[in-house]
């Protein structure tokens, strides 16, 4: 045992020394030389030299430089869980309307997720020209439609699985299987965060519950747990964030101080061991978060016109109340982006409860009734969020991505009034930093079934998002289980056409 010394002279409190001693200095370099060639240093499968960010212990969210100057600093994803139909929202197909009620050519041999196809079915919602661009968007989402001149559509999205679990995995992690890191985890691993008193990556589940593949959508996968999305929304705060009710504030602070004393006394026996210092630092960061997160999550300072803009001020019916709750999540998202949180994911739609399509966009049997509820919940708050981001100048640095796990069929299912799953063609859109405005990229066939023009894979979409952040998707890697893993695996091309 070493003798107790004056804690204020502890080297651990010297930040410069703390960073100098992070264990990745000269010693580590010398050792690499000693051990000869390390397989780990090899190029990855793309043949390009890999870039693996160095994460200082205790400072996992320290800001890190991108590979090149990007257009976006933050990303805000709006994810519609359940597979939102492109044909009832953004993908206008006159031929589908014309041939409503007729069989789709070749559909007699087509077996989709739930089975056989009925006839082609036009959307129950009318499409109208919107904005100066005259973009045709349906009456299901008129508020979003009004912003058409700010949006950049990709109508030729293609997935590779037609079940929700793998589909959500694929859209959030670029891999249909469980266990891979989400886009947000990759981004925070690469870039850290601008704000050290908030989590770098926040996932905001729908007020009705978590999405179908739950935490997989913001999972760290094989990346360190530090890069997991922190889950909370305007209704449910972060678990264990608040000081326990049974502990008075003074006592809580005293305990924290005493713990730090214990830890610093212990650390004196291990000078230079950064893991110990990192844990001490993590308690300090936790204490800061205890103050900053409730502050950012407290919407009471938002003025009435802002609440109204998002639709957060109305109630009285189940739809309006759900919409108001989703609107509060959107306001929370804006507040997080405003604070410099690197990656925010807002979910619209929850896991299946009460039957197929009741709580999310999975409209197999009763599209009209179900989408009549989901459309309004999504529409006004999302539009409010875009308007608010724009009026605050936040769209200059923030990339907004609207997505869903896959699309739906232009036919109704045999004997039903809804659409089956369809990964062959669907729509996503982006807005804000680095992307064209009032622009549409790619197209599906005449009925909106299959992407045929400028086919864009989910890998391409992710490659593009990384590119906008100044990251080369072929170089950003993490070694796991025999491979320099990439977000985009061995696929993906930046969709240059959408870049502004």
């Amino acid at each position: 045992m070493s003798e107790p010394t004056d804690l204020r002279r502890s080297p651990l409190l010297d930040r410069r020394r703390f960073f100098a001693d992070t264990g990745i200095g000269l010693g580590a370099i010398a050792l690499t030389h000693l051990l000869g060639r390390q397989g780990l240093l090899a190029a990855n499968v793309s043949g390009k030299e890999t870039i693996r960010p160095v994460i200082p212990p205790g400072q996992p969210y320290a800001p890190r430089k991108p590979h090149f100057t990007g257009r976006a600093k933050n990303v805000l994803v709006i994810f519609c869980s359940g597979a939102c139909s492109q044909l009832d929202t953004f993908d206008h197909k006159p031929e589908l309307i014309r041939r409503h009620g007729q069989p789709m050519p070749g559909s007699d041999k087509l077996i989709t997720f739930q089975g056989e196809q009925g006839a082609l079915a036009k959307s129950p919602w009318e499409f109208k020209p919107r904005g100066k661009s005259g973009k045709m968007i349906s009456d299901l989402v008129p508020h979003i439609g009004a912003l058409a001149d700010d949006l950049c559509f990709i109508h030729s999205m293609q997935g590779k699985t037609n079940t929700h679990g793998p589909g959500e995995n694929f859209m959030s992690t670029c891999n249909a299987l469980d266990g891979f890191p989400s886009l947000g985890a990759w981004v925070t691993y690469a870039l850290g965060s601008e704000d050290q008193s908030l989590p770098a990556y926040v996932a905001i589940p729908d007020p009705r519950g978590k999405p179908q593949n739950s935490v997989n959508n913001w999972a760290p996968g094989f990346l360190p747990a530090a890069f997991q999305g922190t889950e909370f929304n305007a209704t449910h705060p972060i678990r264990n964030l608040a000081r326990p009710g049974s502990v008075p504030a003074g006592s809580d602070a005293a305990t924290r101080r005493f713990l730090r004393e214990l830890n610093e006394r212990h650390a004196e026996r291990f000078p230079g061991d950064t893991e110990l210092a990192a844990r001490i630092a993590s308690y300090e960061l936790a204490a800061r978060m205890q103050l900053t997160i409730p502050e950012v999550a407290d919407l009471s300072s938002e003025p009435a016109h802002i609440l109204k803009l998002y639709g957060a001020d109305e109630g009285g019916s189940k739809i309006l109340e759900t919409r108001a709750a989703f609107a509060r999540n959107c306001i929370l998202a804006r507040r997080l982006v405003e604070k410099g949180v690197r990656f925010v994911q807002v979910f619209n739609g929850a896991y299946q409860t009460g039957g197929e399509g009741v709580s999310n966009w999975d409209g197999h049997k009763d599209l009209l009734n179900q989408y009549s509820q989901h459309g309004p919940v999504l529409d006004k708050p999302t539009a409010g969020l875009l308007i608010d981001l724009k009026q605050r100048g936040l769209l200059d640095d923030t990339l907004v991505v609207w997505c869903t796990e896959f699309g739906r069929m232009p036919t109704f299912q045999k004997g039903s009034q809804g659409r089956d799953h369809n990964p062959s063609g669907f729509t996503c859109w982006m807005a804000g930093a680095g992307v064209k405005k009032g622009f549409s990229h790619g197209a599906t066939d005449e009925f909106g079934y299959k992407a045929v023009e400028d086919v864009t894979t989910v890998y391409d979409l992710h490659a593009t998002i990384l590119h906008l952040l100044g990251l080369d998707h072929e170089r950003l890697t993490y070694y796991h289980n025999g491979l320099e893993r990439r977000l985009t695996d061995v696929h993906g091309q930046v969709v240059k056409a959408v870049l502004s």
């Binding site: 000693l34 499968v45 469980d178 179908q212 739950s214 964030l241 830890n263 061991d273 893991e275 289980n481």
Partner: protein, 969 residues
């Protein structure tokens, strides 16, 4: 993994290519008529026309021409691409000559000239030698360290190393109370030699308190009790530590700790994953199997065999390994989806087998041949063929012996009563003539009754099966109460043919009196076959009893169409029974209904007697059903698979040529017939992996053990020993350990405890008793400059405990740990069991959640609300090592959760109870329990003052959050 989906000319249609290869040779330019020099003649051609697409930068079609091995081996479509000695038959020549439609090579740039092709042909015909014939160097199988055989290296400076004298450095004195160690442990010689090369030395031995604390945390996953510490510190025996090691290895907590490590390696969890994420209520049996295997020091080779083919070894539970991974159970009529799901299941089995046992990333060869390692696309599919008959699901376990005896006893009673009641069976109307059909054939047992007939021989002819070659476990022919078919009764069996080469399927099993798949006969022909039984003397017979697997495990290969005939005096065959009057076999055959007995018209006494028998029969059947009710387990379910095909680019919709079961060529080849019996495939693969000569198996596991004992492996990529993995820091030591492990020497520095080949405990004892493991963890600035991460082991590297270790330690220290071992899991989540399952992390805890965390229901996706944040893997992917991140969420969970506050209260109550009301005594006890040491003077004052001001629970809350509590010293 999913890989290159991009198209390239090289990868286009295999079918077209195959046709082309068989085409006429005439259009090929003749081979050059001279001796070819690789460097002068060939290399310029390759460099000029090939390497830009098939070299270090790009490998179009997974093919590269920059080493001999790779060039010969071929890429995605052509395997091999070059056949030395046969230029006309080498795809490379056909492609450059433009003989393969649409695939002329090079794809870009000028075509090769006739002269160039002539040179290439001559080069191939002359053996395709590389520069200086350096083929051996370019052949990864011979050149990569981990594919070479393990050769026991000499121990550096063989003889005793005086650790305290020779290698203690840094001017530091051994800590007081440490034992002066004179090491004869070869591990120390290897480590010390490498340290010396780098101007470093081992640190002195850690003090005894540190040693026992480290030992308990590393080996048992929780700190020692104060009594354990006092006993060890006071033990003056020279071998005190060695004895402590033996005691710890015999502790039941050991298996719980080390079993958890293995469960990470095999991605064990108890829910299905994906969005349904349903429970596997009997998945825990595999977890208990693993824990018991470690506690009983099951030899590792046996451990391997049981997990891959335990159904052949009486350890069915162990095959939970095969199906431990996630599975997407969402059904659909969409064949693309269902094929993909099945391909993913097989990929999980192949991939996990490869990483767990061989340290090879086989999954990388799913879409194309491995880019770094000698694993071809075809070999990957040969491995999938090994597992092609393995399915996920719950199934019944074989009965334990006492239950089997009870079943046999009931069976005997049933048989006896059925015999007595036989005269009273209600005869069905003549079958076929509009009468009711007999039930469909049953894989377990079938009885064909007929009017008694005298004969010398009986023939059972199979005309159709449910799939594959028919299998019958036993053919019984009854004359009253005698089975006259038995070989022991002199009956001779013959058959149309028997599937060759299998111990468990032989003709003599057909009438050996033993039932079950392991004593059965399989025909040599798919869908048909016959068996003839010649009795020792003419017999009067009345029924035939037969089954596919009387033990109920196998339902495949069932004879669905058959005919039973007896030999007449005129040497002709007379049919006595057949499948014609049976219902059509369904996929899940229903049990045949028992016969109905009628007692009408009998004298009263006789009827009463018969009714009594009938009642006795009913109760005997009930007893039998009770005794035969088997425990359920989530483990491998096995059926004979059809052929396996190579899937072009891993796409299940693009089947190519059939691939027989087999494995990698890196080590002794293993090939099986395309239709090899399912179990045989796995047995043979397991033997191949568990061989002491397999260069990877022992190295990989030795490294895992080392990793968990030191925090990092000698190879830091524990699941990748291939070319893209890390090199070992101490290759000789790794090989010495691997060789010592599979063939223990008499002088391996161990104590007297028994050791056997592949004994994990022996290996661990060897490591634990080394001076290397026992050295202090104190940092040394001078050494850190040379080796910051302590990779060369100039000290014992301290580290944070994993999630389970932290939770278990908290419960142990507070005195709240429920030591109940094994059995169904407890839940850290509340579960909504809808069609899709939802798991909500519990926030309030009761005594039901105080068992060790290895017994917590392991949910995929959803983590425990508190300890999940400590890098706890969820079992979706294999997790050979855990990342050790430090995050504010961990701090929040450990500082603010109800769990911690509750445990702090319980800990405080314990202190009050054990130390009384004196605050100083309470602090001393707290320190002994949590840190295994007395508080330093300043600490005692500070802690006592704090406890007085804020209360004892507040002190406990701080202690349970302390770095000293969480770190392995």
């Amino acid at each position: 993994m999913t890989c290159a989906w991009m198209s390239s000319a090289w990868m286009s249609s295999f079918a077209a290519a195959t046709l082309a290869i068989g085409a006429d040779v005439a259009p090929l330019p003749p081979a050059a008529g001279r001796t070819v020099d690789f460097t002068r003649d060939i290399q310029p051609i390759l460099a000029g026309s090939c390497i830009s697409c098939h070299g270090p930068e790009k490998q179009k079609g997974s093919y590269r021409l920059d080493s001999r091995a790779a060039a010969l081996k071929g890429g995605e479509t052509y395997d091999p691409a070059i056949k030395p000695g046969d230029s006309a038959g080498s795809p490379l020549i056909r492609l450059v000559a433009g003989l393969v439609p649409d695939e002329k090579m090079p794809a870009k740039g000028d075509a090769l000239t006739a002269d160039q092709i002539a040179l290439l042909r001559a080069w191939i015909d002359q053996g395709a030698r590389w520069a200086d014939d350096a083929g051996a160097d370019a052949d990864p199988i011979r050149s990569h360290w981990s594919y070479r055989p393990v050769v026991r290296p000499p121990v550096p400076g063989a003889g005793a190393t005086d650790v305290s004298g020779a290698v203690v450095g840094g001017g530091r004195k051994p800590v007081e109370g440490s034992v002066k160690a004179v090491s004869s442990n070869p591990i120390d010689s290897f480590i010390a030699a490498k340290l010396a090369e780098n101007g470093l030395t081992l640190s002195p031995e850690a003090d005894r308190v540190t040693l026992i604390r480290r030992l308990f945390l590393v080996m048992l996953g929780m700190p020692p009790a104060p009594d354990d510490v006092a006993a060890f510190v006071g033990d003056r025996e020279p071998l005190a530590f060695e004895r402590l090691v033996d005691k710890v290895l015999a502790d039941a907590r050991y298996g719980e700790r080390w079993g958890r490590h293995w469960l990470d390696v095999v991605r064990f969890a108890e829910s299905n994953g994906f969005e349904t994420n349903r429970e596997r209520p009997n998945g825990w049996r595999f977890r208990d199997y693993v824990i018991a295997a470690f506690n009983s020091d099951k030899p590792y080779d046996q451990f391997i065999r049981e997990q891959i083919a335990g159904d052949a070894l009486g350890t069915d539970v162990a095959t939970g390994f095969l199906v431990g991974g996630p599975v997407d159970i969402v059904g659909s009529p969409d064949i693309v989806l269902t094929s993909q799901q099945r391909a993913d299941e097989l990929d999980d089995m192949v991939g996990t087998t490869g990483t767990a046992f061989l340290g090879l990333t086989l999954g990388c060869a799913r879409c194309h041949s491995h880019k770094f390692d000698p694993i071809s696309h075809r070999e990957y599919h040969a491995m999938t063929a090994v597992f092609a008959g393995v399915k996920h699901g719950e199934r019944a376990l074989p009965l334990p012996a006492d239950r089997q005896a009870a079943v046999a006893e009931a069976d005997a009673r049933i048989a006896e009563l059925e015999r007595r009641l036989a005269p009273f069976i209600a005869r069905p109307a003549a079958a076929g003539a509009g009468g009711k059909l007999r039930p469909a054939v049953d894989p377990v047992r079938n009885e064909d009754r007929f009017a008694p007939v005298g004969t010398r021989a009986l023939r059972f002819t199979i005309l159709a099966t449910s799939g594959g070659e028919p299998c019958i476990d036993e053919l019984e022919v009854w004359s009253g109460d005698r089975n006259v078919a038995l070989a022991s009764a002199g009956t001779k069996a013959s058959a149309s043919g028997t599937l060759p080469g299998l111990e468990i399927h032989k003709l003599e099993h057909i009438n050996d009196g033993r039932v079950g798949n392991n004593r059965s006969w399989i025909s040599s022909e798919a869908g048909r076959g016959w068996i003839r039984l010649d009795f020792a003397k003419p017999e009067r017979i009345d029924r035939v009893v037969w089954g596919r697997d009387r033990e109920g495990g196998f339902k495949d290969r069932l004879a669905t169409g058959y005919r039973i005939e007896v030999l007449t005096a005129a040497d002709t065959w007379d049919p006595v029974a057949s499948s014609d009057d049976r219902a059509k076999a369904k996929e899940t055959p229903s049990k045949p209904a028992p016969p109905v007995y009628v007692f009408d018209g009998l004298p009263a006494a006789e009827a009463a007697q018969a009714r009594q028998w009938s009642a006795g029969l009913d109760s005997a059947r009930k007893e039998r059903a009770g005794a035969a009710k088997a425990a359920m387990v989530y483990s491998g379910n096995f059926t004979q698979p059809g052929p396996t095909f190579r899937l072009h680019r891993g796409d299940p919709m693009q089947k190519r040529e059939p691939v027989p079961p087999g494995t990698l060529a890196i080590f002794r080849p293993l090939t099986l017939a395309t239709n090899a019996p399912e179990q045989e495939r796995r047995v043979r693969l397991a033997d191949w992996i568990a061989s002491p000569d397999n260069p990877l198996t022992a190295r990989v596991m030795v490294n895992r053990v080392w990793q968990h004992q030191f925090g990092a492996g000698l190879v830091t990529t524990p699941n990748d020993f291939g070319k893209n993995g890390a090199r070992p820091s101490h290759p000789e030591l790794l090989d010495w350990l691997a060789s010592e492990w599979v063939a223990p020497s008499s002088a391996s520095g161990s104590t007297t405890a028994a050791r056997h080949p592949w004994s994990i405990k022996h290996l661990q004892r060897l490591i634990l008793t080394s001076a290397t493991w026992r050295q202090s963890s104190g940092p040394l600035a001078s050494a850190r400059k040379i080796d910051a991460t302590s990779r060369l082991l100039w000290r014992f590297p301290p580290r944070r405990m994993e999630a389970e270790g932290i939770r278990d330690s908290i419960l142990a220290v507070s005195g709240n740990l429920d030591r109940t071992a094994g059995g169904p899991s407890f839940f850290l989540h509340d579960v909504d069991r809808e069609n899709v399952y939802h798991y909500h992390p519990k926030e309030k805890f009761t005594p039901a959640e105080t068992r060790r965390m290895v017994y917590a229901f392991k949910v995929r996706m959803e983590q425990d609300g508190i300890f999940g944040a400590f890098d706890c893997p969820d079992g979706s992917l294999v997790a050979p090592k855990r990342s050790m991140s430090t995050t504010p969420l961990q701090a929040l969970n450990l500082f603010n959760s109800d769990f911690i506050l509750q445990q702090a209260e319980i800990f405080a109550a314990r202190l009050q109870n054990e130390a009384g009301d004196d605050a100083r005594a309470q602090v001393r006890t707290a320190w002994q329990l949590a840190f295994n040491r007395a508080p330093a003077p300043g600490e005692l004052e500070a802690a006592t003052g704090f406890a007085r001001a804020e209360g004892l629970p507040a002190l406990c809350r701080a202690v349970l959050n302390a770095n000293e509590f969480l770190f392995i010293p």
